[in-house]
């Protein structure tokens, strides 16, 4: 049996997807199905004076219209599940439909149920909502000023919480040889999976069972929340995440529309479908980032970093989304020192309600923000002391041999050789040559820039005890069942819920190798709360480290049991057997053996089992990892800026990542590319923009700059593998590396290019206009 783990196998998921046989939520069609459309607020902040639905109800084909008043006693608000402790958090939950007041443009005020999606949409126009406009607060820094309008009377100054971690003694900054301070704005962006959100709800009035197909990254969390909101027992609520067309964090959050579709299906006793259109998606699906981060670094003239102090003013939007409070606090604050040995750190985050769409996780969730500020400030520090940014990093990176390294916030970086990764990246990029080329280019007036990012991120969420301590309303273990059928074929069930990450293949590789069977014999099943024991879903780069851990242990449990059965059949003791290449062989007498397939049959027919061994062959594991995992990497970006137009040309991008043990290099590289496209997208193009009055101005793909194929050069990626000690597979997670590393690598490169003009910092995205203006300003100063 050849080894399959670590091989670049093509994916088992693909044949159905490339032939148009995937089944996404909108592909589900049920007899008698009705369609839901959502009437949304046109104002960012307004009182609802009156809603007239009569004209809509009169439209032939319209079955029902529900307003906030109709459902307020029937659907409970959706709670945020991450109530960060110790920060006086005031959580404002999403209500199913606004009743008295709308708090952001796009907030749902009514829903129409009709016989077709076109009719439902027509009927929206016939609903008349009369508003009394109120002044809106859009930007978080304005929102916390005393004069700002207040969104909630019981939230003074719009401040939802003030969170603090770590402490830097005042004398560290007072006595420091060098202090660098910079304000960074992590602009608001949208995850924008290509499949928008959607739901199909079917109710059986006889059994009282409700099935809800929806676009979810974590169906068990959706069940937990909707079961509470709708007052349905978990035994009667079946959440199914069918094929899901990307999530990137936006499909973690538990929203209200899916609950409304479920409610309507129960109320009308007919299936109801709701599919968000892209404009709705921009308005109603969580946004991300939107944090104003001020960072101070204290250091020595010879390049040692002594302390980091941050203040993050984060916009939560109008309601506290599912993980809205955790992202800018725990996810951000614990990682502010990055990959460096810095003795002191202090992080403060102020969570602010604004009249905008709620913010929540987006690929990286807090870690890209943490990485951005540290990687930018370290480069500014290097600049200030006149040292090469690579040299400063070399001096401060966590040293090989000091793992696990505990950072000032208490995070235990698991394993690695950060210097080796950095040197490999420098080598791959030809760093020394690049600096020479830059020098030449500058002589000719060309603006060549080189940017470096040496990031580390907290992934593989995580130990459940920590989840409890940080206020996460659930566990963070994961579950896998490895079920061996009589034929020897294997079904793996997991509580994680992949939607493009390829675990259907990588998990099959692990099982195939462990059992010595063909990968074709293994199928992964996920995304159905009726079929799968408790699980917590796919996000935070946790599927391979945590669910994969459960998988490895569950598979080992199968082998353990199979050995007993094989030994019994071969009339030897289990200790006398070895299991290799799919066969249980007597040590020293390899002809005396049973194949895995034979034992699968024996175990399942149970004709002749050893005493005390139960029939069937199935292993299950709930794996609660002892700690988080910490992928590390060094990325180098080379840009050339056109001084006449401000256009940034991405010339080269080199990534070297240590994501632990790699199960499938093809899939891992794909994850890196995808993350990088989004990270580079944030650095250069993407931004969610509101008008001063809270109107969303980037509400379509015409206005929101989604990265296109021709924006990118070929990415040069490679890997270093340092297995993580905290899970059986040694995996560290790879999904979020690109979004964590790229923004600072790209911005550092552009700032390096603009150095001749004295530009210190520009806010992302670095659009040609912004860059051009900075050049003009620099010219004027010159």
């Amino acid at each position: 049996m050849t080894k399959v783990v670590g091989k670049p196998l093509k994916r088992k998921e693909d044949p159905k997807l490339i032939t148009g046989n995937g089944q996404f939520t909108d592909d589900i069609k049920l007899t008698g199905m009705l369609y839901m459309a959502v009437k949304r607020s046109q104002h960012a902040h307004a009182r609802i004076k009156r809603i007239s639905v009569d004209a809509a109800l009169k439209l032939p084909g319209v079955v029902a219209v529900y307003t906030g008043k109709d459902v307020q006693d029937k659907i409970k608000p959706i709670r945020s599940i991450w109530l960060v402790p110790g920060c006086d958090l005031i959580a404002k939950d999403r209500v199913p439909l606004a009743v008295d007041k709308v708090n952001y443009t796009g907030e749902a005020v009514a829903v129409v149920i009709a016989e077709s999606r076109y009719l439902a949409s027509d009927a929206l126009d016939l609903i008349d909502v009369v508003y009394e406009e109120l002044p809106a607060v859009v930007h978080q820094e304005a929102a916390i000023e005393g004069s700002a309008p207040v969104i909630y009377n019981d939230v003074p100054g719009n401040v939802a919480f003030t969170w603090k971690a770590g402490e830097v003694p005042e004398e560290v900054f007072a006595n420091a040889e060098v202090v660098v301070k910079q304000r960074f704005y992590e602009q608001r962006v949208a995850a924008n999976p290509m499949e928008t959100r959607g739901a199909v709800a079917q109710y059986n009035p006889g059994s009282g069972e409700l099935t809800l197909w929806c676009t979810s990254q974590n169906p068990h969390i959706h069940r937990l929340q909707y079961s509470e909101a709708l007052g349905i027992s978990e035994t009667k609520l079946r959440i199914i995440a069918p094929d899901v067309g990307g999530g990137f964090g936006a499909k973690i959050a538990v929203y209200t529309e899916e609950a409304l579709a479920a409610f309507a299906a129960m109320d009308l006793k007919q299936p109801v479908k709701w599919i968000e259109d892209r404009q709705e998606h921009f308005l109603a699906t969580s946004h991300a980032r939107d944090q104003v981060i001020t960072t101070e670094l204290a250091g020595t003239k010879d390049g040692k970093i002594l302390a980091i102090r941050t203040r993050n003013v984060a916009s939560l939007g109008a309601y506290l989304s599912t993980m809205g409070a955790g992202v800018p606090t725990i996810d951000f604050g614990l990682m502010v020192t990055g990959a460096y040995t810095i003795p002191y750190a202090q992080a403060e985050t102020i969570g602010v309600y604004t009249n905008t769409t709620p913010t929540d996780a987006y690929r990286g969730a807090g870690k890209p923000e943490a990485s951005y500020q540290i990687e930018r400030i370290v480069s500014l520090f290097a600049e200030k002391i006149g040292m090469d940014p690579v040299e400063v990093r070399r001096k401060n990176l966590v040293q090989k041999g000091s793992f696990p390294y505990t950072n000032p916030m208490g995070c235990n970086y698991d394993s690695g050789d950060y210097q080796k990764v950095l040197e490999q990246a420098l080598e791959a990029a030809g760093y020394a040559g690049l600096r020479k080329e830059q020098e030449e280019a500058r002589k000719n007036g060309r603006l060549l820039g080189i940017g470096i990012s040496t990031y580390v991120e907290l992934c593989g969420l995580g130990p459940s005890a920590v989840a409890g301590a940080i206020g996460f309303g659930g566990g963070l273990y994961e579950n896998c069942t490895v079920r061996v059928h009589p034929s020897g074929k294997v079904t793996v069930l997991t509580g994680a819920s992949p939607h493009g990450q390829g675990e259907g293949t990588t998990f099959a590789q692990v099982v195939a190798e462990k059992f010595g069977i063909p990968i074709e014999d293994v199928e992964l099943f996920h995304g159905d709360t009726h079929m799968i024991s408790m699980g917590w879903g796919t996000y935070g780069s946790r599927t391979t480290p945590v669910a994969g851990g459960a998988l490895a242990i569950a598979a080992d449990r199968v082998i353990e049991k199979a050995i007993k059965i094989a030994a019994h059949e071969l009339e030897v003791s289990p200790e006398e057997l070895k299991f290799e290449d799919g066969a249980f062989m007597v040590k020293g007498d390899p002809d005396k053996k049973r194949t895995f397939k034979e034992i699968a049959w024996s175990a399942n027919n149970a004709w002749n089992l050893p005493a005390g061994v139960e029939p069937a062959l199935e292993g299950q594991c709930f794996f609660d990892p002892p700690d988080f995992v910490y992928p590390f990497g060094a990325h180098i970006c080379v840009v050339e800026v056109d001084p006449d137009t401000g256009v940034v040309d991405l010339k080269k991008y080199v990534s070297v990542d240590d994501v632990g043990r790699i199960l499938n290099p093809l899939i891992v590289e794909g994850q890196v590319h995808g993350g990088l496209a989004q990270g580079i997208g944030q650095a250069l193009w993407e931004q969610t923009v509101y008008s001063e009055k809270g109107q969303l101005l980037s509400g379509t793909f015409m206005d929101y700059a989604m990265p296109k194929a021709k924006f990118f050069p070929m990415i040069e990626s490679s890997f270093v593998e340092s297995p993580s000690p905290v899970n059986p597979l040694g995996a560290k997670g790879v999904g979020e590396t690109g979004t964590t590393a790229a923004p600072s690598a790209v911005v550092n490169a552009v700032m390096d290019a603009l150095k001749p003009y004295g530009v210190v910092d520009l806010e992302m995205p670095l659009t040609p206009e912004k860059v051009w203006k900075a050049i003009q300003k620099g010219r004027a100063v010159k």
Binding site: Q42, L696, L697
Partner: protein, 150 residues
Amino acid sequence: MRIEYSYTFDLPKDTVWRYIQDDRVLRSSLPGCQTFEEMPSGIYAAELGLNTGPVKGLFSAEVQQVDQIPPTYYRLLVKGKGKPGEIDAVADMILEEAEEAEGGTKITCVAEIEVTGVLASVGQRVMVGVAKVILGQFFKAAEKEMQNEI
């Protein structure tokens, strides 16, 4: 957003001043105007059927003309509401003798416009263009009406 638009009437300033705020002229020259009535408050209530780009469908509007300085200036306040969203506009209307056409009058409209709904999320990008088209239609029709009146 801010827009600036000028139109030159082939009519003297006094004539333009006299008729540009006249409700009969407005009624027949506002694009797609279906009703135009003065309310007791002095505000006009209008219904306009518009069809230019995203500004599509029936809009109910309140139109108010204030701060007149004859014959050179007045301020126009428009609040409109339609399916695709709401429009809130404050426009300064400036009348001057046209330089290029003798005996003509140049009217310049400098407006600050706020929109909501689909008009904001989808229409914003094209709103300036749309507003100019609508203003152009209005002034052209108004000029024709004025010529009929005199």
